[in-house]
Chain length 226, copies 2
């Protein structure tokens, strides 16, 4: 029979936000250092309790702006973590959000705010609560998105070489990819457009590519059906 009365004892609802970037051949995650108990001094994901009048995404945007100065990222809901003992203070359920950023888009990390910093996502410091598990889950989602969608455009500048794109994939998949094979596959998905521009450097000029508008906004690289 459907329950229609609201229980007396309620869990608290929190949101935590996982932001990734790729810089210096490393996948980084944005962390904040906790100043209060529990886990004072430990690093954790930016996060806070959902206010009674705001939506879940509004809460995620608010805590991200308050704690890191970051705005205008495309946030996607990642997963809701609700193990009964994940926080020993009380029953706290966390609705986690996820975003990709180029490192220059994220504020508050380079000046006087020692409480916010990028850390290596595959080798983070000891994290508070179950945030290590949340980061691991977000890495799986990121890999999946790279395999099936054009999501990498959010990590790269507007134009990039195929080598730069391959580097981003290698850093996130943690394996070296065969250059010919990578190029053949990525070009066959038709998510990239060649530009008329080249990157000049020590080697021979490398053509610059960009993601097609359609690939960015449809989000999907290839459909099996129909």
């Amino acid at each position: 029979m459907p329950l229609t009365t609201i229980p007396n004892e309620l869990p608290a609802v929190h949101t935590d936000v996982v932001i990734f970037t790729v810089q210096e051949a490393r996948l980084d995650v944005l962390l904040t250092q906790r100043r209060h108990q529990p886990f004072a001094g430990h690093w954790s994901l930016p996060g806070g309790f959902v206010r009674i009048e705001e939506s879940l995404e509004q809460a995620a945007r608010r805590v991200l702006a308050e704690q890191t100065g970051t705005r205008q990222l495309y946030l996607e809901q990642l997963y809701t973590f609700g193990a009964p003992r994940r926080d020993l203070r009380a029953r706290i359920i966390s609705v986690a959000y996820f975003a990709l950023a180029s490192a220059d888009k994220v504020g508050n990390t380079s000046h006087d705010n020692a409480w916010v910093a990028w850390h290596p996502a595959f080798d983070p410091p000891l994290l508070a609560f179950d945030h290590g598990e949340i980061v691991a889950y977000a890495i799986e989602r990121l890999r999946y998105k790279l395999e099936y969608t054009a999501a990498a455009f959010q990590l790269l500048p507007e134009q990039f070489t195929l080598r730069e794109l391959q580097n981003a994939y290698e850093v996130i998949l943690r394996e070296s990819l065969d250059k010919r094979n990578f190029r053949r596959k990525i070009l066959s998905t038709q998510i990239l457009e060649a530009t008329d521009d080249y990157r000049y450097g020590d080697h021979r000029p490398a053509r610059l590519y960009r993601f097609s508008h359609e690939a960015k906004f449809e989000g999907q690289a290839r459909r099996l059906f129909p």
Copy 2:
């Protein structure tokens, strides 16, 4: 600055479960009829409040068993719906779960339980709360899973003909697929294994296939990378 005190005013946390099946060339969703206000008499997804000591998935399993007699389905977390005014009684956040079933696995729908019934997923009765939106979101997830994974095995018997598989895809994608093209694509993904058995009927015998063990448990039909 991280919040560390738990707010006084807390939302309630609910779970709602979307179960799909394909029967008689139709995609159906399992609904229960509400006996209490609000929305008394309306159809809604099976669901209930999360108890303070149970995990989110435990809550989904419990309400499903209590309300529909259904057990042992593979439940996947779908999405958390948290618009502030989605329920006018109070702030109620719903963690939605999702499952596929062959129709014979779901109890309580064929005998004396008029409160639970299958309804057409693309043309359901007027649903309580935002459950219409939750069903629509679940259909998108289902289509995505059919395009990218071997999830259809959960809707079909152990062995099936390619025509039966194509029917399931057509019902869910709501379009007729070209037979040759469908066969070529589905066989190229290597998620199917031909058996030595045939279905005999009015037409010439049709070979029976099954999903490979690997496809079922990896869940993914094809990777773009590496």
